[in-house]
């Protein structure tokens, strides 16, 4: 698995399988984009057509990861239920391709709204400005700072994953597990994502702090970088050799948690406490079984509808300052 994937992909491992029921449940709120003539606030270019087409262009990092592929399918379906057409682009992890393809669609006027999961946020500046000037609402994943902006912007909505909150939940849950099962004592392995992932530092700091708070007697004895499941399983197996008394694992990714379970199983050792951040189907099934204590799952189904609806509203009033949303998170335990 490519280690160059940004964090959002890794975290986007749950597919909007949840999107399907949501699609059906979504009472398509009337998507009437009133013909509001938009005036550009950056003082450039012509005023676009009075009615923007109900066409969304969706440009994720790449269609290769199953999660993103599924998201694109979900978006198309949800859009259809609201009377929108969706154009799916595939940048294939290439930032230049992403901006070129987007600019082409935006310039031609074909798209009335855009949802972008940027490969390289810093390189999106021109595209964002161009969309603004055309009055085409655009939703991007990440925080304003990642794109070179400060604070909310007109015509742009930012939707980011609150990694700090995610990390906090991860560490806290693991602490709770240890308290419940081993009286709060434990040797913990922290399976982290590859360097360069978005939000990595704040996530890991929050997780470490929360764990300390919830279970002061537990110590993180080793940190292992996990890029894919097979390598993770091997690496954690090696770590187990150096720390035979490991009894807890918290993981930034699904692969790390699953790899840890595989490694402990192969070594014939017990692993009473596992928490992870991600929440794909296999993990959720294990949470239900009780093998994994908790999974902090990003609710992409809900996020998708949230994003889509916001874009729709923005199309009605493109000069309004956009929002800064977060992807909803949910802590899933055996009882939830």
């Amino acid at each position: 698995m490519s280690s160059s994937r940004s964090r959002s992909t890794r975290a986007l491992s749950v597919l909007a399988l949840g999107a399907v029921p949501l699609l059906l449940a979504a009472c398509g709120s009337s998507s009437s984009s009133s013909a509001a003539p938009s005036s550009s606030d950056s003082g450039s270019s012509s005023a676009p057509a009075s009615t923007l087409p109900k066409t969304l262009v969706f440009s994720p990092l790449s269609l290769a990861p199953p999660a993103l592929k599924g998201l694109s399918v979900g978006v198309t379906g949800y859009g259809k239920s609201k009377g929108w057409e969706t154009i799916i682009q595939d940048p294939n992890f290439d930032p230049t391709k992403q901006t070129t393809d987007l600019n082409a669609v935006l310039d031609s006027g074909r798209a009335g709204a855009a949802w972008v999961i940027a490969v390289a946020p810093k390189s999106m500046g021109e595209t964002l400005k161009s969309a603004q000037s055309k009055g085409i609402p655009i939703l991007v994943n990440g925080k304003p700072e990642e794109y070179g902006f400060t604070g909310p912007q007109p015509g742009i909505t930012f939707d980011y994953i609150d990694y700090a909150a995610g990390g906090q939940a991860l560490g806290d849950q693991l602490g709770k597990c240890l308290v419940a099962k081993t009286g709060g004592k434990g040797q913990v392995l922290f399976a982290v994502s590859s360097p360069g992932q978005a939000g990595k530092d704040e996530f890991e700091k929050a997780a470490t702090d929360a764990l300390k708070a919830a279970a002061p007697d537990a110590t993180i004895v080793q940190t292992v970088v996990v890029s894919d499941r097979a390598k993770g399983q091997i690496a954690i197996g090696n770590a187990l050799q150096g720390h035979p008394d490991l009894n807890a694992v918290m993981s930034s990714t699904d692969e790390g948690a699953l790899g840890a379970l595989g490694a402990f199983d192969a070594a014939g050792k017990d692993l009473p406490c596992v928490t992870d951040f991600g929440g794909n189907d296999e993990v959720l099934a294990l949470v239900k079984k009780g093998t994994i204590w908790a999974s902090v799952a990003l609710q992409f189904g809900a996020d998708m509808t949230q994003s889509f609806d916001t874009l729709e509203k923005m199309q009605a009033d493109p000069t309004a300052v956009g929002q800064v949303l977060t992807v909803p998170q949910k802590i899933i335990t055996a009882s939830s």
Binding site: M1, S2, S3, L15, L63, A64, P65, P66, K69, G70, Q222, V224, V225, S227, D228, R229, A230, K231, Q233, I234, A235, G237, N238, A239, Q241, G242, P244, L258, G259, G262, D265, A266, A267, D281, E282
Partner: protein, 361 residues
């Protein structure tokens, strides 16, 4: 070598005895200076020595966790996955082709098997189908390359095609829950996990094939000088294709074993596979020019990588240091090999010239 030319007699040896080489044991070239023999020993067996030194080093440094049977088994297990892929890469290179489609073939084989198992097929059907993927892709690679296209480009093309096919087959998702494959994954037999046996089998069969069977010898010869083999009346094209088939089959097997170990089939082709496999092959001194190479040394190359990874992880050191160390070892081994080759040829030239004056041989 000397001809007993009627008018010159270097030694008082009658022509009838000229052909006798029997007294000299075949393994020892006659009259090679001990210097040359020692250098060749280092070149051919040095990698084993290196591995031994690494083991010793880690045993002392990572005491007491490193030097135990359980850990040895762990290292062997980790090396097995890399080793299977490395065997494929090595055979490809020996045969004169760098096969870059290996990650894609692994993914497609894994997904084919996973998809079949998911749809209720018995395990053996899934496995056979997975291996068949390897054979078919290998044939495709070989046949297309024979048309005159650069094999590297061809295999890059098949890499894209197989990756896409894998993704399309499983609808873009992974296929988890393949616990029926555990028997060849994490299951232990006599305390040793299955992948170790599989990798051992691959290397034993591979080594015997390349060094002792007619087709294996011809395969290596084709890699060395395809034209020479053709002039001996052999269809060297067939052997080139065979090289691709073996390479892709190893890739398929590697994909299936990886799937078994994690009980999940993933369509994501990991390009890192090529990197680690190539590193193991390069450490083993397999010449990229083709025609020569020792599979046992490739196995040791894979073991060295796994040993370094294991030792550093036990000590809690960031494994990127391991990557750095491996790179350094690789450069050092290249330099050493170059130095040995030059020294050996220089010394051989010296002895050849010696015969003019000393009249020996």
């Amino acid at each position: 070598m000397s001809m007993t030319v009627p008018h010159e007699t270097n030694e008082a040896v009658a022509p009838a005895q000229a052909g006798a080489t029997a007294p000299v044991p075949p393994a020892r070239p006659e009259g090679d200076p001990t210097g040359i023999r020692a250098l060749i020993f280092i070149r051919d067996r040095g990698i084993f020595v290196l591995w031994g030194l690494l083991i010793l080093g880690f045993a002392l440094w990572a005491n007491p966790f490193f030097a135990s049977v359980t850990n040895a088994v762990l290292v062997a297990n980790a090396a097995s996955l890399t080793a299977i892929f490395a065997a494929g890469v090595a055979v490809g290179i020996i045969c004169g082709a760098l096969d870059l489609s290996i990650p894609g073939v692994a993914a497609l084989a894994a997904c084919t098997c996973g998809w079949l198992l998911e749809n209720g097929q018995p395990v053996w059907v899934g496995l056979v189908a997975g291996m068949a993927v390897g054979v078919v892709v290998g044939l495709a690679n070989g046949v297309i390359s024979l048309r005159g296209f650069n094999p590297i480009i061809v295999t890059i093309g098949t890499l894209s095609i197989t990756t896409a096919a894998a993704s399309i087959l499983v609808g873009g998702y992974t296929v988890p829950g393949l616990t029926q494959l555990k028997f060849m994954g994490t299951q232990r037999y006599l305390g040793v996990p299955a992948p170790v046996y599989i990798a051992a089998a691959v290397f034993i069969v591979g080594t015997v094939f390349l060094t002792r069977t007619r087709d294996g010898l011809r395969l290596m010869a084709v890699g060395g000088n395809a034209e020479a083999v053709r002039r001996s009346g052999i269809h060297s094209d067939r052997y080139k294709v065979l090289g691709f088939v073996i390479s892709a089959s190893c890739a398929a097997l590697g994909g299936l074993v990886t799937t078994a170990v994690v009980t999940e089939a993933s369509p994501a082709a990991s390009p890192g596979i090529i990197f680690t496999a190539l590193t193991a092959v390069a450490l083993a001194g397999v010449s990229l020019a083709g025609g020569r190479g020792s599979l046992p040394r490739v196995l040791v190359g894979a073991l060295i990588l796994a040993t370094i990874d294991n030792g550093l992880t036990i000590k809690g050191i960031d494994p990127y240091w391991g990557t750095g160390l491996t790179g350094f070892l690789l450069l050092a081994s290249l330099g050493l090999e170059k130095w040995i080759s030059t020294t050996v040829s220089n010394r051989l030239v010296a002895t050849a010239q010696a015969s003019v004056h000393t009249g020996t041989r």
